[in-house]
Amino acid sequence: MRALTWHGRHDVRVETVPDPEIVNPRDAIVRVTSTAICGSDLHLYDGYIPTLRAGDILGHEFMGEVVEVGARSSLKKGQRVVVPFTISCGDCFFCKKQQFSACDNSNPSETSDASRLLMGHTMGAAFGYAHLTGGYAGGQAEFVRVPYSDVGPIVVPDHLEDDKVLFLSDILPTGWMAAENAEIEEGDTVAVWGCGPVGLFAIQSAKIMGAYRVIAIDHYPHRLELARQMGAEILDYREVDVREALDEMTGGTGPDACIDCVGMESHGLTIDNIVDTVKAHTFLGTERPHALRQMILACRKGGRLSIPGVYGGFADKFPLGQLMEKGLSVKSGQTHVQKYTAKLLKMIEEGKIDTTFLISHHASLEEAPEMYRHWHDDQDQYTKIVLKTQFATPRKDEKELIHELA
């Protein structure tokens, strides 16, 4: 089959690799129709995540058709499924508590040792990410072996086209959980740092959950425009001092909840960020948490921080005293995707949530390396890229979904 493989910093290629096979009784093989490039794939592309190996197949947002099932899979051949990026057994303590991304069994014992060393405990597994999270092949490929197929994949009805449901795999539940973790109350102002796909879904989710105001922060005009479309007020940090603006917009109080949809590779030419960038490139640090630092100072006293943004290790110059003295509470974590898929699918069916407004480009799997380049270099215009394999059935209305460049 054809698959996108990683070979080093800014070096991804589409290659012919062997097809996956059923290995365990609960496995299924999914023939991929649509797969997306995620913001967190950029951390891999930039070489920020340790334990990725040359030849690894990337991709953790994918869907397709079930073509083969193991003896204990509950899926049937021919079903259309969206596959959560988190690989979760459904049986362990964590899965039973619906903390699916903390699954205790999905990370094989050989690879989980490294994550135990780095994190203190073994991490759950994910598709197409580093070996810290299991080293499972990803979904930017024509076929994927899906473990625990009886608990992960969600069957989607035929009348919903791929683009509408694909993001159930990651960014939609991630944005939703980000807003849920902000514990929004009546009259709340929620500030969202980063208007990438997760930020945009967090904004939409916060609005659905009853946020009185949402203020979105970024520096890409087109992404900010999409945020405004979702009902947010917007701040371009190149135009204004974000903290001053937030304070003045909230009567000196600060936002009630702040959501970090940026993660470890903050942009911006501030002193702390320049130092972080130098350290990251000389292997002295892994994080560039400028947005998170700013969030802690901006948040109101006793407010909430929600961190869906990905971090990998140790941050320094972290305003810990400010966090404590202001009495902020923090919720974070990889998304417990399986907890949200059924509910969000229903909302998509009922037209309560818009899942296609952020798609800017469609391309074929073969064009993936070029798309990674654009995703990295042209973030203003490339707001979400969906890749189609040869198994995708083109819909006649698909052309209309390709947004005109502004």
Binding site: N24, G55, D91, D104, N105, P108, S109, G135, A137
Partner: protein, 228 residues
């Protein structure tokens, strides 16, 4: 002149400061050391409520070559005891155990992968057994390595299943060098035990052992083999 004096005074202050810091650090170290050993120089009784194998080197309870690991499995201890009691099923979750044959109700012969493709044989005998709670075994004299093990099934807090604790006392083949080599080759018993227990947990909770076997762009691999 005045300036110079101020300068040297500051220098003196810094020196004094550094001196105080050194003395303080030394005193602290001496205090800590004196805490570790009693006035007669012998280690004092330990007070921590920890399992036998987590004591630091130098404490009275520390024992060389005693290793242990605990994993939580979400099933009742009686069931897990029954699953463990059949030693012939060990190769399903113990990576380095190639084969276990039952010799009689107490004794079994194990074939274990050693460093660099070698294999090690040992015969173990069950020395004590408490149904639903623990099994202890020891290697028979004809074995190539000496080992002593115990698995305990301890009730976890309500609703949390069972703590499965594997404790091993062993003398590594080749002494210290052998141990270092084994560690390099990831055949070190502590690492091995932790991985084996995790696989046991996976098998008991999910019915299968997790594996990342899947395709990659690396020519040396097949899609059905696990990779690190």
């Amino acid at each position: 002149m005045a300036d110079q004096r101020t300068g040297s005074k500051t220098g003196n202050k810094a020196l004094i400061g550094a001196g105080i810091a050194t003395v303080a650090a030394g005193a602290a170290a001496a205090f800590l050391l004196s805490k570790r050993t009693g006035s007669a120089g012998a280690p004092i009784e330990n007070i921590s409520d920890a399992p036998d194998y987590v004591w630091r080197r130098g404490t009275k309870s520390y024992e060389t070559n005693l290793l242990g690991n605990t994993v939580t499995v979400g099933r009742p201890r009686e069931e897990l005891f029954e699953e463990w009691r059949d030693f012939t099923r060990f190769p399903a979750f113990m990576e380095n155990v190639e084969k276990v044959e039952k010799l009689d109700s107490k004794r079994s012969r194990w074939t274990i992968k050693g460093p660099l493709g070698s294999s090690i044989e040992l015969v173990t005998r069950i020395t004590s057994e408490e149904p639903g709670r623990s099994i202890s075994w020891v290697s028979e004299p004809q074995s190539e390595i000496e080992t002593e093990g115990r698995v305990e099934f301890i009730e976890a807090p309500p609703g949390r299943g069972t703590f499965v604790r594997l404790t091993q006392r062993y003398s590594p083949p080749g002494g210290r060098i052998g141990k270092g080599l084994a560690k390099l080759l990831q055949r070190e018993p502590k690492i091995q035990a932790r991985r084996d227990l995790r696989r046991f947990k996976q098998l008991m909770e999910t019915g299968e052992v997790a594996t990342n076997a899947s395709p990659s762009g690396r020519k040396s691999e097949t899609p059905t083999e696990a990779r690190i």
